[in-house]
C-alpha cells in the first residue's frame, strides 16, 4: 500500500511510478481526449420543455382516447387490439420518462472537507479523511489495470488525506499481484468468487477501514480531481453515495461525410457532401457504432433524478460513505435474522404469541450463523439494487447524488458481443429485481422514487410493445388490413399533434444532446430485453460474465439475427404489397401504403444500425 497521508506524498508516489512506459493498447491514441462538460442548466429552456411536455401528454391522451373509442378496426380486432395496447403501454412509458426528465436540480457543490469531522456530523473525529480506492478485476489484462492503478495514485486533494489504492483481484493471478507490488498498492484476493463483484467488494471492505470508498472497474481511470470535486457533497451527513458520469474516451469519432465521399468519389463527392452538411450540419459516418455514449443516461436521466433523491449507483466511478453501506447492510442483516428466527419458532408459539427468551436467543444465534452480511447485494445489478436498499431505509433518509461532471474515463465495449453482454446484464438484473424484490410496491420509497424506479423497469418491458410496432407495418402490407379504421384527416388530426409535440418536447428536454441513435438502438435492442425477460420469467439466474474490456474478434452476425429477420420480412412485405398493388389486387389505401411504408422504412433503418455494428471494425483492423 502506498500514497497514504496527504496529497504531497500521494503525488510523489505517482511521479515515481509513471516513468514506466504504457503497454500497447488501441486506446493510447485517445489518451489526450478530454471529456465534454456537463450540459448547462437554463431555466427558460426547462420551462419550454415543461410546457411542451404537458402539451404532448395532453395530445397523447386525446389521441389514445380516440384510438380506444373511435378508431379501432372492428373487422380486425386481432390486430387492432394488440396495437392499441402497445400504444397505451408506450404512452405510460412516455409519462414516466417525462416525469424523469421534468426538472434539473443539482445538489449544491461544496468545498472539499478538510477533516472527517466536517462530513460526519457531530460524531466525526477531527482527523484527515481516509479513502479506499477499490479497483475490482477478474480477468482483465494486468497492464490495463496498471493504468487504472497509476491514475488512482495520481488523485490529488487540497487537504491532508489518506488515500489507499487496493487491487481486488478475483482472478487470483500472480501477475496481477506482481503489478500491484510494482505499483506499490495493496493487493487483495480470496479463495472463491462468491457473490462475484459484490462479494469481491465485501471481501475488500472486511480488510480496509477508509471513511469513503471509491469504486473502480479494472478500466476505470479516475482523474486527479475526483475527490476534490466530490467529497464536498459528503458534508451533508445523509449523503451516502456520489455517482459520477461514466465517460468512454475511446468511442470512434467517425469520418465527416464530405471527407468520406471525397475519398470515395473525388471532388464531386466532396462537394455533394459539403452541400448536405451545409444544410443539415456536420454529419459523421461511423461515429459511435454501438451508441455507447452514456451522456443521455448520466447528464439527462440520472442527473434529473437528483431532484427526487433517486439517482442510483452504477458501480464504476462512484464514491460511497462506508458508514452508509454498512448501516444498511446491518439493518438488512438484522431483519433477515429476525425473520428467519421467527419462522423457526413453532407455529403454535407464533399463534399464541408465546415467547421464551432462552429459545428465542438460540434461534436468533442460529439464524445469524445462516445469514451473511452483504454490504453490496449479491446480484448481477448489485449497484442499483444496493441503492434501492439505501433509499428504502427511512430511518436515516440516505441521499444519493449524481455529480454532473465527468471524473474518470473508461473503455467502451468495442464489439457487439461485449456490448450485448453488458446490456443483457443491465436488462436481466433490473427485471430480476422487478420480479423478485419489487421496490415499487414495498414500503420505504417516496412516491417520486417509485416513479423513477418504475421508469427504469418499464423501459426494459418496452421490448414487448416495440415488437408489436415492428410487426404492425408488415401486417398491413401483407394483409391490407389497417389497424385503425382509416388513415384520414381524422387520424392525422389526432396523431400528428401528439407526434410532433413529442419530438419537439424531447428536442428541448434533451437540448444539447443528440438522442436519435440512442432512440433507434433502444428499438433495435428488443431481442436482448426479450431474452432477459424470458430468462427472468423462467426464474433462470442471470449470469455474471465479466464484460470484456478488449475487442472480441470473429463474426458476430449471429447476435443480430432477429434484427436481420425484421429487415428481411419488412422488405419482403414491401415487395409483396408492391406486386399486389401493381396487379390491381389487395385492399390497400394510398394513405395506408404511405404511412406503413414509412413506418417499415423507419424500422429497417433502426435495425440496420445494430446490423452494421455487428460488422464494425476499428480503423486499424480494416
Amino acid at each position: 500500500m502506498c500514497c497514504a497521508l496527504g496529497a504531497g506524498l500521494s503525488s510523489g508516489c505517482a511521479e515515481r511510478v509513471l516513468d514506466k512506459p504504457l503497454g500497447s493498447f488501441y486506446f493510447e491514441q485517445f489518451e489526450e481526449r478530454s471529456p465534454p462538460p456537463p450540459l448547462e442548466y437554463s431555466r427558460p429552456v426547462e420551462l419550454v420543455w415543461q410546457l411542451l411536455a404537458i402539451a404532448t401528454l395532453v395530445a397523447g391522451a386525446i389521441y389514445l382516447h380516440w384510438r380506444w373509442t373511435a378508431s379501432l378496426n372492428f373487422d380486425a380486432l386481432w390486430f387492432a387490439i394488440p396495437l392499441v395496447i402497445a400504444e397505451t403501454c408506450a404512452f405510460v412509458g412516455l409519462v414516466l420518462f417525462t416525469a424523469n426528465l421534468w426538472k434539473t436540480r443539482d445538489y449544491p457543490r461544496r468545498d472539499p472537507p478538510a477533516s472527517f469531522a466536517e462530513c460526519a456530523g457531530e460524531e466525526g473525529a477531527d482527523r484527515p479523511i481516509k479513502v479506499d480506492v477499490f479497483i475490482a478485476t477478474y480477468s482483465e489484462e494486468e497492464e490495463l489495470v496498471r493504468l487504472s492503478i497509476r491514475d488512482a495514485k495520481a488523485i490529488r486533494y487540497p487537504h491532508p488525506i489518506e488515500i489507499a489504492v487496493h487491487v481486488l483481484d478475483d482472478g487470483r493471478r500472480p501477475a496481477m499481484a506482481q503489478v500491484a507490488a510494482e505499483e506499490g498498492v495493496n493487493y487483495i484476493t480470496r479463495d472463491n468468487n462468491v457473490g462475484f463483484k459484490a462479494g469481491n467488494l465485501r471481501n475488500a471492505m472486511e480488510q480496509t477501514s477508509g471513511d469513503f470508498i471509491v469504486i473502480c472497474d479494472a478500466d476505470t481511470r479516475p482523474f486527479p480531481t475526483m475527490l476534490m470535486h466530490t467529497l464536498g457533497y459528503f458534508r451533508d451527513p445523509d449523503v451516502a453515495i456520489v455517482q459520477t458520469p461514466q465517460w468512454f474516451y475511446d468511442i470512434p469519432e467517425g469520418e465527416r461525410l464530405q471527407d468520406l465521399w471525397g475519398r470515395k468519389a473525388g471532388g464531386l463527392g466532396r462537394a455533394a457532401g459539403r452541400v448536405i452538411e451545409t444544410v443539415f450540419g456536420e454529419i459523421r459516418v461511423g461515429e459511435d457504432p454501438f451508441a455507447n455514449d452514456p451522456a443521455m443516461f448520466y447528464d439527462i436521466i440520472q442527473r434529473r433524478r437528483n431532484a427526487w433523491n433517486a439517482a442510483f449507483c452504477c458501480g464504476a466511478g462512484s464514491i460511497h460513505r462506508r458508514e452508509a453501506v454498512m448501516f444498511v447492510a446491518l439493518r438488512e442483516f438484522s431483519q433477515l435474522v429476525s425473520t428467519t428466527a421467527d419462522e423457526a419458532r413453532p407455529r403454535m408459539d407464533r399463534l399464541l404469541r408465546r415467547r421464551d427468551a432462552e429459545k428465542d436467543a438460540l434461534a436468533r444465534w442460529q439464524a445469524a450463523q445462516e445469514q451473511e452480511l452483504t454490504p453490496y447485494k449479491f446480484h448481477v445489478s448489485e449497484d442499483i439494487y444496493s441503492t434501492i436498499v439505501l433509499h428504502q431505509d427511512k430511518s436515516r433518509n440516505w441521499k444519493t447524488v449524481l455529480h454532473p461532471q465527468v471524473e474518470s474515463k473508461m473503455l467502451s465495449p468495442q464489439d457487439l458481443l461485449s456490448w450485448t453482454i453488458q446490456r443483457f446484464k443491465y436488462a436481466g438484473g433490473s427485471l430480476d429485481i422487478f420480479f423478485n424484490d419489487n421496490p415499487i410496491l414495498k414500503p420505504g420509497l417516496s412516491m417520486m422514487q417509485r416513479v423513477m424506479y418504475l421508469a427504469t423497469f418499464w423501459s426494459y418491458f418496452a421490448a414487448l410493445w416495440n415488437l408489436v410496432f415492428l410487426l404492425a407495418p408488415v401486417m398491413y402490407l401483407v394483409s391490407g388490413i389497417p389497424p385503425v379504421n382509416a388513415y384520414t384527416g381524422d387520424f392525422f388530426a389526432r396523431a400528428l399533434p401528439f407526434l410532433v409535440l413529442n419530438e419537439l418536447a424531447f428536442m428541448v428536454g434533451t437540448w444539447g444532446l443528440s438522442g436519435y441513435k440512442g432512440k433507434v438502438t433502444y428499438l433495435a435492442s428488443f431481442p436482448l430485453s426479450l431474452r432477459a425477460l424470458w430468462a427472468v420469467v423462467r426464474k433462470k439466474k442471470i449470469s455474471f460474465p465479466v464484460t470484456p474490456k478488449q475487442r472480441q474478434s470473429g463474426s458476430q452476425l449471429h447476435l443480430v439475427w432477429p434484427q436481420v429477420t425484421v429487415m428481411l420480412v419488412t422488405l419482403a412485405a414491401f415487395l409483396y404489397a408492391a406486386i399486389r398493388t401493381t396487379m390491381g389486387e389487395g385492399n390497400y389505401s394510398v394513405g395506408g401504403l404511405i404511412v406503413n411504408g414509412l413506418w417499415g422504412l423507419n424500422n429497417i433503418l433502426a435495425m440496420s444500425i445494430m446490423v452494421r455494428a455487428a460488422f464494425w471494425k476499428p480503423e486499424e483492423e480494416r
Partner: protein, 163 residues
C-alpha cells in the same frame, strides 16, 4: 456550447417533424381526392367531412349521380328504395349520427320512430365505411322522407336496393 451546435444535435427531431407533417399533408390530400371521386363533389371543408367526432364524421351524402359508383348490397334481402343519410368511418359514429338526425327530425314533427334503420358496411379505397340508411314503409316514402329531411338542411339521397 453554441446554439447552432445544440440545434445540430437536435436536428433529428426537426427532420422527423418535417417528414411527419409532409406525409400527413400528402396522405390527407390523396384521401380527399379519393373522397371527392367517391362522393361526386368537392369536399366543402378540408376537415369536416373526414373528422370522426360525434355527428361530424359523416362522409357527405352522395348525389344520385354517384349511385352507380358504389353498388349497394341489399341490407335485408328485400327490394325497394332506401334513404342514405351519410357514410361514417365507424359503426358507433353512424349510430350517433342517426340519433342526431332523428332528434332533429322529431323536433320538426317528422315521425321516425317506426322507420327501419340500417347501418351497412361497404369498402371504399381499401377501408371500411358504414352507410347510414333508413327504409320508410310505403311507395315513394323514401323520396318523400328525403325531401322532408332536405327541408331541414339535412343531406340525403335515395338509392335503390338491388336484389
Amino acid at each position: 456550447m453554441k446554439f447552432h451546435e445544440k440545434l445540430r444535435r437536435g436536428r433529428s427531431h426537426l427532420l422527423i417533424v418535417v417528414l411527419m407533417i409532409v406525409t400527413a399533408i400528402i396522405v390527407v390530400s390523396i384521401e380527399d381526392e379519393n373522397l371527392t371521386r367517391e362522393t361526386g363533389k368537392a369536399t366543402p371543408d378540408h376537415q369536416a367531412p373526414l373528422r370522426a367526432g360525434a355527428g361530424e364524421g359523416a362522409i357527405p351524402a352522395q348525389g344520385r349521380e354517384a349511385r352507380s359508383a358504389l353498388p349497394l348490397s341489399a341490407p335485408s334481402g328485400s327490394d325497394g328504395d332506401v334513404v342514405q343519410l351519410g357514410a361514417y368511418l365507424t359503426r358507433n359514429q353512424a349510430q350517433v349520427g342517426w340519433e342526431e338526425i332523428a332528434k332533429k327530425a322529431r323536433s320538426a314533427g317528422i315521425g321516425v320512430e317506426s322507420i327501419e334503420v340500417l347501418i351497412v358496411q361497404a369498402h371504399w379505397d381499401g377501408r371500411a365505411v358504414h352507410r347510414l340508411l333508413v327504409r320508410p314503409e310505403g311507395e315513394s316514402a323514401a323520396a318523400d322522407l328525403c325531401s322532408e329531411l332536405k327541408a331541414l338542411d339535412l343531406e340525403c339521397f335515395t338509392r335503390e336496393v338491388r336484389p
